[in-house]
């Protein structure tokens, strides 16, 4: 407890839910303020920029569709990071797992171009999950058996995955008609996710919501989810209760990787209809922010993903103006670290207590 003149700052015993939510909102507002400052300092109108971004994200049905399209991969990667984080594992490799999932799904699409859509699409979802999970398995095993930091291993594999897809797209899967641009051959219609009306919003969004429900149920109502929560809160208690730590590390990483892998499938099958090196605009990394803002819970992740989807769409809209789209990344980073800082402050309470209390006279001593 600290005294600052007439103010007393004390720690709360529990951070109230309302305060936490308010803190998040305040952090976003502050970050937007910081962004505005940076924009104005660069000679751009913050007001116009934000206006453009807002319109692109929410102004009409098409805009909303675009926002949800952008949110879809973020829901997957956000869930991926959140699930791992519940057990205190940091999956920084969602980006690479996304690429591997995309590659696996694409492989199916190229191998069975004439298969019926009703079979091919679900198979591709599974392939995506398997691809992503496989990519996370190595780091999971290394962490479980040797204690090797999953942060570094998953991260390094990101770069390897991206290079791998680069290789595929420049080599074996190259589209002969693409004249210079690194692209794969296009998918056939049976490999393409259905979309809503004439918007770009595709079934991947529904799969994402489904995944969120699955994750929510998993953590809340299954034995596995219970073990994950206990291990994440207290490893000694988990040991005490006989919970298998190493096996659970590997399984959690597989689940996490699988979710990120489906993100990859969703992007190639729902948006791009082929595989190419830039299927991801850093979705794996943004997923980390989304998971943190969403407090590692499924519903929180969905809300945060939509917010960041909006930011993403807003950023694209800026490309047609002279405002540099990199301001979006600045905003994202700022939201994150302001949130993180503010959340800590939310644990304190300030009281007004002027003047020192009179000292009570010394009590009678017992004989």
């Amino acid at each position: 407890m600290r005294r600052l003149g007439p103010l007393v700052v004390e720690q709360r015993r529990v951070a109230s839910r309302w305060t936490s939510a308010l803190v998040r909102v305040a952090a976003i507002a502050l970050a937007l303020g910081l962004g505005a400052l940076i924009l104005e300092a660069g000679g751009y109108s913050a007001r116009d920029s934000y206006r453009t971004m807002w319109d692109a994200a929410f102004a009409n049905r098409d805009a909303l569709a675009e926002t949800l399209v952008a949110a879809t991969p973020l829901i997957f990667t956000g869930l991926a990071v959140a699930v791992a984080a519940r057990m205190l594992l940091w999956n920084i490799g969602a980006e690479g797992q996304l690429f591997l999932g995309a590659a696996a799904a694409s492989w199916l699409a190229f191998s069975f171009p004439d298969a019926p859509r009703g079979l091919l699409l679900p198979a591709m979802v599974v392939a995506g999950a398997v691809g992503g999970a496989a990519w996370a398995a190595g780091p999971g095993v290394l962490r479980a058996s040797l204690g090797v930091s999953e942060i570094v291993t998953t991260l390094m594999l990101n770069f390897v995955a991206i290079l791998f897809v680069d290789y595929l797209v420049h080599g074996p899967w190259r589209d002969p008609e693409s004249s210079g641009f690194p692209l794969s051959k296009p998918f056939t219609t049976s490999a393409i996710l259905p979309s809503f009306g004439d918007t770009r919003l595709h079934a991947g969004f529904l799969i994402a919501l489904g995944a969120a429900i699955v994750v929510w149920t998993l953590l809340r109502s299954t034995r596995f989810g219970y073990e994950v929560r206990v291990i994440g809160e207290s490893q000694p208690a988990a040991r005490y209760a006989g919970m298998p730590l190493r096996r659970n590390i590997v399984v959690v990483m597989l689940v996490s990787g699988g979710l990120a892998g489906i993100a990859g499938m969703s992007e190639v099958s729902g948006i791009v209809f082929r595989i190419q090196p830039d299927i991801s605009a850093g979705f794996g990394y943004t997923g980390i922010i989304v998971a943190t803002l969403g407090r590692f819970s499924a519903p929180g992740v969905v809300v945060a993903a939509i917010l960041f989807g909006a930011l993403q769409v807003g950023g694209y809209a800026l490309q047609t103006t002279e405002v540099p789209p990199s301001i979006v990344q600045v905003l994202q980073g700022a939201i994150l670290f302001i949130t993180v800082g503010a959340e800590v402050l939310a644990r304190y309470r300030v009281r007004w207590s002027p003047g020192r209390e009179k000292r009570t006279p010394l009590a009678e001593k017992a004989p």
């Binding site: 990199s326 990344q329 980073g333 993180v340 800082g341």
Partner: protein
């Protein structure tokens, strides 16, 4: 004499110096108990500010100073978040990387691809550079590379032979104990993280002012992350960081020199080498080090004095 290999090793040293700066800085921060995952962002900001300063003033020295200052500022921010506010170190670091990456792109938007007005050219040290084999590799480099040698030695001496270094290590092993002994945990952690940040900035400036003069978005290409892995491989020792930096530089050099050296792998797979090597390196460190990896015991843990 196999001069192709000598050239390769020389390139390795030149390429690895970025990593050496960043890794030594991270060693200092982690020895004090603070994990700084914002290296990539800090390096990029250092690269862009260094280049912009050079572009405005024509002075390489000012470029270096600007980069050091920019890195220090971001380091200060990270220290504030993790030490004073006791935020989670991993999240704070990631936030700074994303922020720094975006900020660097934003700041550098007007100088992308602009030719450099000047750069740190190789400066052969008389006599020393003529030593067979070792000479051209170590002593025919640019000024910043020589600085890195001095830096490694200086940091080693400070860490292991001075009172300041002892206090720093104590803070990283057991902050509570250090605090009870009257050592300023907050002060040392701030200092260590700021130093780490400046060195990360310098690492970035090395790229934009010496190695590949110029600025392009994301020019660090993940080196900041490699540096984090490198610190583990180096067992939190600056000498290890120098050796590791060289080894990683070698991966890059091999990619560069592939044809000359006689390697005929696809450039993509060659490109994967540094990253795969990092993984191999930390797995190796884990296997060899046994249970206690040598990590500072208090690494990653925030410190609060009035604990009950």
């Amino acid at each position: 004499m196999n001069s192709v290999w000598v050239t390769t090793f020389a390139i390795a040293m030149a390429a690895g110096t970025t990593l050496v700066f960043a890794a030594v800085g991270e060693v200092v921060a982690e020895r004090a108990g603070v994990l700084n995952l914002g290296l990539e962002g800090m390096m990029l900001v250092g690269a862009v500010t260094g280049f912009m300063a050079l572009d405005r003033t024509g002075s390489l020295e000012l470029g270096v100073l600007a980069a050091l200052a920019a890195g220090a500022l971001l380091g200060l921010l990270h220290a504030f978040l993790t030490v004073s506010l006791r935020a989670d170190q991993i999240v704070a670091g990631l936030a700074l990387t994303i922020f720094g990456t975006g900020l660097s792109a934003y700041l550098g938007r007007d100088v992308v691809g602009k030719p450099a007005r000047d750069s740190f050219d190789p400066l052969a040290i008389p006599l020393l550079h003529e030593i067979p084999w070792v000479g051209p590799v170590l002593f025919d480099q640019n000024l910043l590379v020589y600085t890195s040698y001095v830096l490694v030695a200086a940091v080693w001496i400070v860490l292991f032979r001075t009172r300041l270094g002892l206090h720093l290590r104590a803070v990283g092993e057991s902050a509570g104990t250090a605090d009870a002994m009257g050592v300023s945990v907050v002060g040392l952690r701030y200092g260590a993280v700021i130093v780490g940040g400046s060195l990360a900035g310098l690492a970035g400036a090395y790229l934009s002012l010496a190695r590949t003069p110029g600025w392009s978005e994301g020019m660090t290409a993940g080196r900041g992350w490699i540096a984090v892995g490198l610190v583990i491989f180096a067992r939190w020792n600056p000498l290890g960081a120098l050796a590791g930096g060289f080894l990683f530089g070698l991966m890059e050099a091999l990619n560069f020199q592939a044809q000359a050296v006689g390697i005929t792998l696809s450039p993509f797979f060659l490109g994967m080498l540094p990253y795969l090597f990092t993984i191999a390196a930390i797995v190796f460190a884990a296997l060899v080090g046994g249970r206690r990896l040598g990590a500072p015991a208090a690494l990653g843990l925030p410190y609060r004095r009035e604990e009950r």
